[in-house]
């Protein structure tokens, strides 16, 4: 790490600053575009994890209207580089899509929500600003919604690579958004040639609730209630990331027992979410019995949540400075019993699925190449199923993740079957983590009282390995006001869906739904 930092320091000089575990750099827009390929090829920043746009209107310290923050990642050194660029309202930004293809969807978001101009044509986004009367994330936005909001039409532009005869046999199919497998919120438009998918478009944004705009209106202590509602399958992951961010920025050390309790609940949530993914794959394949087994496993987790905090889906347990309640008496025994039952259920699923030739045949499709997955900004089990060993619990361990023993399961071919296997093995590893933590649960208090919950002025970023991938929050605070200046969510579902068109191209129509389920897209996290 140190040599690498020196190397960067030599190249960029005084521009580069070190802040906590991050590197920060301020560049001019033109300069960054020239440096992009150098950063990727010479310094190994192959992974663009997020782009966050901030509107500076009303902030007297900033001269220019917008600040764009690029989050780059060097996976080998685990070096996180933040590049911030100040631009004017009229400045046209060049797309870095040629270097990091994952930037395309993030740039679309910048264009639609913040009104940043780009010098290239980007295509249709998930929100049409003219329907809402402006760019929602700007500070001077006043909503003006008249009449129905436009959605994409079921059509494709002409494919120049084929002639008119071939064009004649192609047909268009619309799947979703009201569909059990598409989570009621994603629309897939397919161009078919017989049974084979030739082209795919997807439309999202049906569940866009203005999460980031809403966060700017809520005071710091109440924000956690909003953040719980980001992901309906794994709310505890979201709040843990958020609390970790605030505690990190305040340089707050939370009690050891609170760390352990958080770890237990993070892993239980991971088990629950992975089971949900396997259940929805089973439904897409028409296998109801495995769906019910998975539901049984999820009910076990829900019961544990309910005993802990009274709420089944959402253990509203986290607070800044620790957790709200201590583990009740007898809960640990219940947890061990539930995990034992869970193990039996997993064995049951394995006998029905893992060795089943039908499941194998139907799932040996939709591969993603490891290099392509990194290009597209995919994280989590989907990335690990391609064989890339990147798990934030290992590379950047928080709490006691460096002390517990667990393995990171890796796939080989990046197919649906690999994704299924990786998830199954991760459930087993999570069970082992929970058992290890509960066996060595530290004693003491579970929370600290934090009077001041406002992070100091500046940009803060924190991320956690959630069940779908890297979940991160970027927070811009001015250090005084009760409201955050900007909150940006780096949600794994938002990025993972980019792989969908490439995965299902030239595949059978039947496989499309299973491939979609294997990505485990959560609508709340996808549209925010």
């Amino acid at each position: 790490m140190f040599d690498f930092y020196d190397q960067l320091k030599q190249e960029f000089g005084e521009n580069l600053k070190k802040k906590d575990s991050f590197l920060e750099m301020k560049l001019e827009a033109v300069h960054f575009h020239q440096l992009a390929s150098q950063l990727k090829n010479k310094f190994g920043f192959i992974f663009l994890s997020d782009i966050c746009g901030v509107d500076n209107k009303g902030d007297s310290k900033k001269e220019k209207r917008f600040t764009i923050i690029y989050h780059l990642l060097n996976l080998e050194e685990y070096c996180h580089l933040r590049i911030s660029i100040d631009i004017d309202e009229e400045t046209k930004l060049s797309s870095v899509g040629a270097t990091w293809p994952s930037s395309k969807r993030l740039e679309l978001e910048l264009r639609d929500l913040l009104g940043i101009l780009f010098d290239t044509e980007l295509g249709a986004g998930f929100l049409n600003p003219s329907d809402y009367g402006g760019f929602p994330l700007r500070k001077d936005f006043t909503p003006n919604v008249n009449g129905p909001v436009s959605i994409l039409s079921t059509s494709f532009p002409d494919d120049p690579s084929i002639d008119a005869d071939q064009r004649g046999v192609r047909s268009w199919v619309n799947i979703g958004p009201h569909h059990p497998v598409m989570k009621n919120n994603v629309r897939m438009i397919l161009e078919l040639e017989g049974e084979y998918i030739r082209r795919c478009q997807y439309e999202t944004g049906f569940h866009h609730r203005g999460f980031e705009k809403q966060a700017e209106k809520l005071p710091w202590p109440t924000l956690i209630t909003l953040i719980e509602r980001l992901n309906s399958q794994a709310p505890f992951m979201c709040t843990s990331t958020w609390c970790h961010l605030i505690e990190n920025s305040l340089k707050l050390q939370i009690p050891e027992r609170a760390m352990a309790i958080r770890m237990v609940f993070i892993e239980l949530t991971r088990i629950q979410d992975h089971l949900e993914c396997i259940a929805s794959c089973a439904v897409a394949a028409g296998n109801e019995s495995v769906y019910f087994i998975c539901q049984q496993g999820r009910e076990l987790v829900y019961e544990l949540f309910e005993r802990m905090s009274g709420s089944r889906l959402n253990p509203a347990l986290n607070c800044i400075g620790g957790v709200k309640y201590d583990i009740p008496i007898g809960w640990i025994t219940d947890c061990f019993e539930a995990l034992k039952k869970m193990d039996d259920l997993l064995t049951h699923i394995e006998t029905l699925f893992t060795r089943s030739s039908i499941w194998l045949d139907r799932n040996m499709v939709s591969e993603i190449n490891a290099g392509r997955a990194l290009d597209l900004g995919i994280t989590g089990p989907v990335l690990r199923s391609c064989g890339v060993n990147y798990d934030l619990r290992k590379v950047n361990p928080i709490y006691f993740y460096s002390d517990v023993e667990f393995e990171i399961p890796l796939g080989v071919r990046g197919e649906n079957y690999d994704r299924y296997l990786v998830r199954m093995e991760e459930i087993r590893q999570s069970i082992s983590i929970v058992i290890q933590v509960l066996d060595n649960l530290p004693i003491g208090e579970v929370s600290k009282i934090v009077e001041n919950q406002i992070p100091p002025a500046g940009i803060h970023y924190s991320s956690l390995e959630s069940s779908n991938g890297e979940l991160g929050f970027t927070v811009v605070s001015d250090g005084e006001s009760d409201f955050p200046w900007r909150l940006k969510v780096r949600s794994p579902s938002f990025m993972n869906i980019i792989a969908l068109p490439e995965m299902i191209q030239n595949r059978l129509l039947d496989d499309a739904l299973m491939s979609f389920s294997s990505l485990n897209i959560n609508p709340g996290e996808l549209d925010r």
Binding site: H178, F206, H207, H208, R209, R229, S232
Partner: protein, 167 residues
């Protein structure tokens, strides 16, 4: 001989005017086909009712339908946004009459925390709602109670909100 025979004890009082209407009400109350729209905590919780723990089939809700033509109960969950309302309205119009609507969860009823440019706050003006279930998410017991209430209403011949408007 039946000396203290009272008609009221043996006949259900109903607002149905014809026998066929009464039969229709009775049969609908025994078998309802729900269709679930939206996403969020409430949607997850409603699906869990079909899991191994809560036997929702005993109310006659055999399975979740995803085709509006086959459904007579629409369950709206999650925040109704301007964009999803386009879909919701189309689905509602294609449902068979008499149709019933449940708004499940605070997010569906009022938007909950999400009071901003995306929330379609007046969606209930276009889609009349029969039963509202508060809570984010509502407990499974609350959802079961709401279904019980709805079935009671159908059986007693209470008109759905839609029919009230049409009259």
């Amino acid at each position: 001989m039946r000396s203290n025979f009272e008609l009221e004890n043996h006949v259900t009082l109903t607002s149905a005017t014809t026998f066929m209407e009464r039969l229709g009400r009775w049969s609908q109350s025994k078998l309802i086909w729900p269709m679930i729209f939206g996403s969020g905590f409430s949607e997850v919780e409603f699906r869990n009712l079909y899991g191994p723990r809560y036997n929702v089939e005993k109310f006659g809700l055999e399975g979740i339908k995803y085709s509006p033509g086959q459904a007579d109960l629409l369950i709206v969950t999650g925040v109704v946004t301007h964009k999803s309302f386009v879909v919701l309205e189309k689905l509602y119009q294609n449902m068979c009459s008499p149709k019933w609507v449940i708004a499940l969860g605070t997010e569906a009823i009022s938007g909950g925390l999400f009071q901003n440019y995306t929330h379609k706050s007046d969606w209930m003006k276009h889609i009349p709602v029969d039963v509202m279930v508060p809570g984010d998410p509502p407990t499974p017991e609350a959802i079961l109670r709401s279904l019980e209430m709805l079935i009671e209403r159908i059986d007693l011949g209470v008109r759905s909100e839609r029919e009230n408007i049409d009259v």
